[in-house]
Point group: C2
Chain length 198, copies 2
Amino acid sequence: MVYTRPLARLIEHFQHLPGIGPKSAQRLALHILNRPEDEVASLAQALIDAKKQVGQCQECGHLSAEPVCEICRAPNRDGTMICVVSDSRDLIALEKTREYKGKYHVLGGLISPIDGIGPEQLNIQALVRRVSQQKAAEVILAINPSVEGETTTLYIGHLLKPFTRVTRIAFGLPMGGDLEYADEVTLARALEGRRDLE
Amino acid sequence: MVYTRPLARLIEHFQHLPGIGPKSAQRLALHILNRPEDEVASLAQALIDAKKQVGQCQECGHLSAEPVCEICRAPNRDGTMICVVSDSRDLIALEKTREYKGKYHVLGGLISPIDGIGPEQLNIQALVRRVSQQKAAEVILAINPSVEGETTTLYIGHLLKPFTRVTRIAFGLPMGGDLEYADEVTLARALEGRRDLE
């Protein structure tokens, strides 16, 4: 055995993390051995705290350490706009643009019959309730353009259109993208989504 | 704030690890939230255990959870051969070749006057003691060919040559390497280290 037991165990744990191979796991573990004991204890505590304290917002389903998340509690955010995303990762990506000042709704996945995920497994009922209670003026669907994403978008659109305006984010050529190298589906979408020059 | 507090703290901790950028740190932290609580607790414990339990072998300076490491205790390893390395990382790399059946000695660094590291800061006195006590037949210096490495190699060679045979590992073209693309120093070393065809 090349590694002493506690070290081997730590390396194995690191290897189970996404994107961490054997070499990186070894590097991380040896790094840990070189850090002060209180720093390592603090990392260990951060792991436990994050797992224990972070749950889902009762309102929107976003990750939150409080019953209701900061975004839902924010008084300066427009409650009549609800942006629907598949998971918190997508919400975080949208938040980083600093463009959107409405609220969110996190579905917790996409409709995928192959994986046995139907609408009832997702956070959709609460969305319908919010839309009617908050008298939402617009629901923006910000869902990946995959097969599951399209299904989910159509399903939710169908469900909400009687109550409110439903839009979806634009698909087209990414900024810095090159027409010549774009795939046909993206180009077709870009054409389809063309707008009048202002 | 995009992340809820405990999540933000965990992401920050991950970002301090080597080779982990902001995106990877977020990915790791969200992965942790999706794992079962006992698995996260087990990772936290592994961190604390590794830091608390792993120290240095009294004999050779290698990482060990016991006072004397497994390699030093192994009865089937040749105690008359001592391979000197800069740190445990290099020892582990050599062990993985499964070629070497002697013992090791870990210096814990290299002589580097610029960084204020002299021979007395390194695990060299213990090496001299081992060489004389164990009547070592050969000391192999397996030290990187950097400026500090050369200094350290020369220093230890000078120190030990009166007592035993001192060798160093070969430098030359790496396996799968290409003469055309090798740098001049490597090629010069490869020429210098040429051997008779067997």
